[in-house]
C-alpha cells in the first residue's frame, strides 16, 4: 500500500511500484482528465505536475513518486492556472481537446517559471506536447494572453 497525494487528496494505492502514474490515475483512481497518447513520452498528453514541475506520467513510476504532490488538470489551481484556463477559453483553443490537459499543464509549468515567455521559450517548453488537430497557433497566443493576464 502506497500513499499518493493527487490534487490535494491522499489515496492509499495498492499496486506494483513499476506501474506508471498515468495508469494509477486513470484506472485506479478513475481520474481520467490526464490522457494516454503514446506511452513513450513523445506526445505529452499525460503531463501532470510533481511538486509543481511538469512530468510525463506515462514514464513516472508509482514507486518513484515518494512524497511528491501530484497535480492534474482537474485540480491545478492558483493565479497561473486560472490565467491559462481563462486564456484557453477566451481564444477557443480546443478542437478535439484530447491533448489540451497536457498542453495546459506544460503551459502552466512554463508560466510559473517564466511569466513573460518569448516565442522561443514557448517552443522550448511546448515542443514535447503534440496536438494532432494542429491548434499550436492558438496555444501560443493563449500562453501570451495568460502572460498578459498575470502581468
Amino acid at each position: 500500500m502506497q500513499k499518493l497525494t493527487v490534487d490535494g487528496v491522499t489515496h492509499e494505492v495498492e499496486a506494483d511500484p513499476d506501474v506508471p502514474l498515468l495508469w494509477v490515475l486513470r484506472d485506479r483512481l478513475d481520474m481520467t482528465g490526464t490522457k494516454y497518447g503514446c506511452g513513450i513520452a513523445q506526445c505529452g498528453a499525460c503531463t501532470v505536475h510533481l511538486d509543481g514541475q511538469p512530468v510525463r506520467s506515462c514514464q513516472t513510476r508509482l514507486g518513484d513518486i515518494g512524497t511528491a504532490q501530484v497535480t492534474t488538470i482537474a485540480g491545478v489551481s492558483g493565479p497561473v492556472a486560472e490565467a491559462v484556463r481563462t486564456a484557453w477559453r477566451s481564444l477557443d483553443v480546443v478542437q478535439c481537446g484530447y491533448c489540451q490537459s497536457g498542453q495546459m499543464m506544460s503551459a502552466i509549468g512554463l508560466l510559473s517559471g517564466t511569466p513573460k515567455p518569448t516565442d522561443a521559450d514557448i517552443d522550448g517548453a511546448m515542443d514535447g506536447n503534440v496536438c494532432r488537430c494542429g491548434t499550436y497557433q492558438r496555444i501560443r497566443a493563449a500562453i501570451h494572453e495568460a502572460s498578459r493576464i498575470l502581468a
Partner: protein
C-alpha cells in the same frame, strides 16, 4: 475490480420539453446499399432538404430551468460541429446562447441520418453543417412558433403580437414576459408547424457572429469524457494481440505466462487476434507482452511497401480504366510546342488521432447492449455490433462520446474496432462490460491508411503557353470497393474518391483523359481527412504550377485564366493572393512564395505559402489562406479549422509515411511518425469570402492545398521541383 459509475446516461432524457422522439427499431443489415451518389449529393443543402417538414422533437429540448439542449446527430471529433449545429438551431429559436447545451443523438437512422449518406447516420465528407442547415433552422423555427403559441394561449393575446428575444417571450402591449422554461411544457402540446417561417439573414444574431465553443469549458478542466474515459461498473479492460501482418490469423496460443500476470482475468481468441482481459489497462498490456502467439501468414500480405511502390510505378505506364475523357488528349499533346511530364508518389498515411481507438460494450440484464465510443458511422456500427452479438439492431444502443480526433479513422465501413469489442463481449459471455483499448502501437500499425498512390501526367502547351491536352493516370487501392459505399461511389470500376479533385478539375482543359488502376494489396485503406484530395490536389496544383512556369506566366494569373467558368474558386484565389501581397519582389535567398487553390466537398480554399529552404530543411514561415464555405455559420471555428488543417497536414508534407517491411508496419509510435510540433507551426492567416450561398463544410478542405502551396514555394525558393510527398529534402542540401 473497478467500481466507478460516474457517467451520466448520455442518451437524452425524454422527460423534458418537446416530448420524446420515438426510437425507431432499424432493420438494416450489414449488406445494405446506399443511395446513388448523385442523388445524395444533390440533396445536401438543396431544395429537397428545404422542403422537408420541421422536426423539432428530434432536435431540441427545453427544460423548466430554461436550458435549451440541441441534439447533435453527428460526431464531434474536434471540428466544432456541436457548436455550429447548435448555433443554427439556437438562432432560429432566438435562444439565449448562455443556456444552450448539446447532447449527442442515439443511433436512429430514421431520425438522424446524414442526408449526404442516404439512409445512414454518420459523419464525414465535411457534411455536418451542410446537410443539417435546413433541418436545424426549421426545427428551431418550429420550436419558437410552438413557444409563441403557448404564450399566446396563456396570455390570451394574438401570437403575432409576441416577440422573442434571447430566450424571453414578450407581449409589449400588456407588459408581460416570460422565459422559455415557463412555457416549455405548454409548448410541447402545441401542433408542430410543418412550414415554420425562417428568418431573413438580416435577422440572424448567432449565425455569422463569434459565439464561444460550447466544449471549451469541459475540455479545459479535464471533465470532458472521451470514450477512453468510460468507466462502467464492473468493467474489464481488453488489449488485443493482432497479427503482425494484415490478413494473418492465429495459429497457436500459449497464454500460460499471460494468465500469470497480476490483474489478468482471462485470455480469449477472437477473429482478429488474442484478447487479454484484465482489471486495468496496464495489467492487460503486461499480459499481452507475456503472450506467445504463432501466426498463420498464408493469407497475409507479406510484401514491402517499396516493392508495392515499384509495382505501382510500372503499372502507371500502362493504360487503365477511363475515369473521364474529352477529345483526343494524346493527339493534342503530340502536336504541341512543349510537352511536360511528371510523376508524383504518395505513401500510406496513418490518421494517428490523439485518442487511440477504443470502445466499451456493456450487456444489460435484459440481453440488450450499450455501446460507448466515438461513434462516427452509427448506423453501420450498430448493425455490426448487433450482427456480431447475434441480436437485432434495436437491441443495441449507441452512446456517442467526445472523440479525441479521428481524421476519418473512426468511420470505418467494417466498424472494425466495434466488431472487435463485440467479439470479446461474445467470447466472455457478456459477464462484464468490456473496455477495448488499442495502444498507440495498435492504432498506428492497425491499417486503414490513406492509400499509397502514384500519379503520372503529361500535358502539352501550344506556342502561346495554352494547354492543348492533358493525360493523367492514378494507381492506388480503392477505398470504396468492397464496402457498403461501393454502389454509391464506384462506377465501372472507377472509385470516385480515387480521382476526385483531378478528373473533375475546374481548370478548362480542351482535351483530357483520366485513367485509374485499382491495386489489390492486403493493406486496408481508408479515407484520411480530405480523402482523394490528399493526393489529387498536390498532383494538379504542382503540375499546373509547372505549366505556368513553362508558359512564362505568373502562377496566379495562369490559374485565373483557366478558371473563367469557376467564379468561386477564382474569387477565393484572388483574395488569398491579394491578402498575401502576391507579386511583390522576391525576398532573401532561399526564401520563396507559392500558391495553390482547390475545391473539395463544395468548399473553396486557396493558400499562399511563404517558406525558407536551406540546409536541407524547409521552414514554413507563413500561410495566408482564403476560404469560401458559403454562409460562415461560425467564422472563428472556420478559421480554427483552417489553422488546424495546416498544423495537421504539415507533418505529412515534411516527413510522415507508413512503410511495410515484409508486410510488417515499421512506424508504430510518434517517434517514427512524428506529428507537427509547436516550433514548426507557421503563422496562419485565414480570410473568409463573404457569401450568401448555403453553407458547406470546412473540416477537411483546408488540408489539400497546403502541400502544393508549400511545394510550389520550395520551387520558388530553390528552383527545384519536388513533387512527391513527403517532400524529399535531401535534394535541397546547400539550397
Amino acid at each position: 475490480m473497478l467500481k466507478v459509475a460516474r457517467n451520466p446516461d448520455p442518451v437524452p432524457s425524454r422527460r423534458a420539453f418537446l416530448g420524446g422522439a420515438a426510437v425507431a427499431s432499424g432493420a438494416l443489415v450489414i449488406g445494405f446499399t446506399l443511395a446513388p451518389a448523385r442523388q445524395a449529393r444533390a440533396a445536401a443543402g438543396g431544395p429537397d432538404l428545404a422542403a422537408m417538414p420541421a422536426q423539432p422533437n428530434a432536435f431540441v429540448r427545453i427544460a423548466a430551468d430554461d436550458t435549451v439542449t440541441v441534439v447533435i446527430k453527428h460526431l464531434d471529433m474536434g471540428q466544432g460541429n456541436t457548436t455550429g449545429l447548435a448555433t443554427i438551431l439556437a438562432d432560429e429559436l432566438d435562444a439565449d446562447w448562455s443556456t444552450v447545451r448539446t447532447s449527442f443523438a442515439p443511433a436512429d437512422a430514421a431520425l438522424y441520418n446524414n442526408f449526404a449518406f442516404g439512409p445512414v447516420q454518420g459523419t464525414g465528407g465535411s457534411t455536418a453543417i451542410a446537410n443539417s442547415w435546413y433541418q436545424l433552422r426549421k426545427a428551431g423555427a418550429a420550436a419558437r412558433a410552438m413557444l409563441v403559441a403557448a404564450a399566446a394561449e396563456r396570455w390570451t393575446v394574438p401570437a403575432a403580437e409576441i416577440t422573442v428575444e434571447t430566450g424571453t417571450l414578450r407581449h409589449a402591449a400588456s407588459n408581460r414576459q416570460g422565459r422559455f422554461g415557463a412555457f416549455a411544457e405548454a409548448a410541447a402540446a402545441q401542433p408542430v408547424p410543418a412550414e415554420p417561417k425562417l428568418k431573413d439573414p438580416s435577422q440572424w444574431r448567432l449565425i455569422g457572429a463569434k459565439v464561444g465553443r460550447l466544449d471549451s469549458l469541459s475540455k479545459t478542466d479535464g471533465s470532458a469524457l472521451y470514450s477512453l474515459d468510460i468507466r462502467r461498473p464492473g468493467q474489464v479492460t481488453a488489449v488485443v494481440a493482432h497479427a503482425p501482418r494484415f490478413g494473418g490469423v492465429v495459429k497457436q496460443v500459449d497464454d500460460r505466462a499471460a494468465r500469470a500476470v497480476t490483474g489478468v482475468l482471462d485470455v480469449v481468441t477472437i477473429p482478429t487476434g488474442v484478447a487479454v482481459i484484465a482489471r486495468d489497462t496496464w495489467s492487460a498490456m503486461k499480459g499481452r507482452e507475456a503472450l506467445t502467439v504463432t501466426w498463420d501468414d498464408r493469407a497475409a500480405e507479406t510484401r514491402s511497401s517499396d516493392a508495392l511502390m515499384a509495382e505501382y510505378r510500372e503499372r502507371v505506364k500502362t493504360p487503365g480504366l477511363v475515369a473521364a475523357q474529352r477529345g483526343d488528349a494524346a493527339g493534342a499533346i503530340a502536336g504541341s510546342a512543349q510537352v511536360l511530364e511528371a510523376e508524383f508518389t504518395f505513401p500510406y498515411l496513418a490518421h494517428a488521432a490523439m485518442e487511440p481507438l477504443n470502445a466499451t460494450i456493456e450487456r444489460a440484464a435484459d440481453g440488450t447492449y450499450d455501446v460507448f465510443a466515438g461513434c462516427q458511422l452509427q448506423t453501420i456500427e450498430q448493425a455490426v455490433v448487433a450482427a456480431t452479438l447475434g441480436v437485432t439492431t434495436d437491441k443495441v444502443r449507441l452512446h456517442t462520446q467526445w472523440a479525441g480526433g479521428s481524421f476519418g479513422r473512426r468511420a470505418t465501413p467494417s466498424a472494425d474496432y466495434f466488431a472487435e469489442t463485440a467479439a470479446i463481449v461474445k467470447a466472455t459471455g457478456g459477464k462484464a462490460p468490456v473496455h477495448l483499448v488499442w495502444t498507440r502501437e495498435d492504432d498506428m500499425a492497425g491499417g486503414f491508411y490513406r492509400p499509397m498512390v502514384v500519379h503520372r501526367m503529361r500535358a502539352g502547351l501550344d506556342a502561346k503557353g495554352a494547354i492543348t491536352g492533358w493525360e493523367h493516370r492514378v494507381v492506388g487501392k480503392s477505398i470504396m470497393i468492397g464496402t457498403a459505399f461501393e454502389t454509391m461511389l464506384v462506377k465501372d470500376g472507377v472509385d470516385a474518391t480515387s480521382v476526385e479533385g483531378a478528373s473533375d478539375t475546374p481548370y478548362a482543359l480542351p482535351a483530357y483523359r483520366f485513367e485509374v488502376h485499382n491495386t489489390r494489396e492486403g493493406v486496408p485503406v481508408l479515407w484520411w481527412r480530405s480523402v482523394g484530395h490528399t493526393h489529387t490536389a498536390q498532383a494538379m496544383e504542382v503540375f499546373i504550377d509547372e505549366l505556368a512556369h513553362a508558359a512564362k506566366v505568373d502562377p496566379v494569373a495562369y490559374r485565373l485564366g483557366l478558371l473563367k467558368a469557376a467564379p468561386r474558386l477564382s474569387a477565393t484565389l484572388t483574395l488569398a493572393a491579394e491578402k498575401a501581397g502576391w507579386g511583390g519582389n522576391a525576398s532573401e535567398k532561399g526564401r520563396g512564395v507559392g500558391v495553390a487553390a482547390h475545391e473539395s466537398f463544395g468548399s473553396y480554399v486557396a493558400m499562399v505559402a511563404d517558406v525558407t529552404a536551406k540546409d536541407g530543411k524547409v521552414k514554413v514561415n507563413r500561410i495566408v489562406a482564403a476560404v469560401d464555405v458559403g454562409i460562415a455559420v461560425n467564422p472563428d471555428i472556420i478559421r480554427a479549422q483552417v489553422e488546424g488543417a495546416v498544423g495537421f497536414a504539415l507533418s505529412s508534407v515534411l516527413r510522415n509515411r507508413i512503410t511495410l517491411k515484409d508486410g510488417v508496419v515499421q512506424e508504430k509510435n510518434f517517434d517514427a511518425y512524428e506529428p507537427t510540433r509547436m516550433s514548426e507551426m507557421p503563422v496562419v492567416e485565414v480570410h473568409i469570402v463573404p457569401s450568401g450561398a448555403a453553407p458547406t463544410g470546412i473540416g477537411e478542405p483546408g488540408v489539400p492545398v497546403l502541400a502544393p502551396a508549400i511545394s510550389n514555394a520550395v520551387f520558388a525558393a530553390t528552383g527545384q521541383r519536388l513533387r512527391s510527398l513527403p517532400l524529399d529534402l535531401s535534394g535541397l542540401k546547400g539550397a
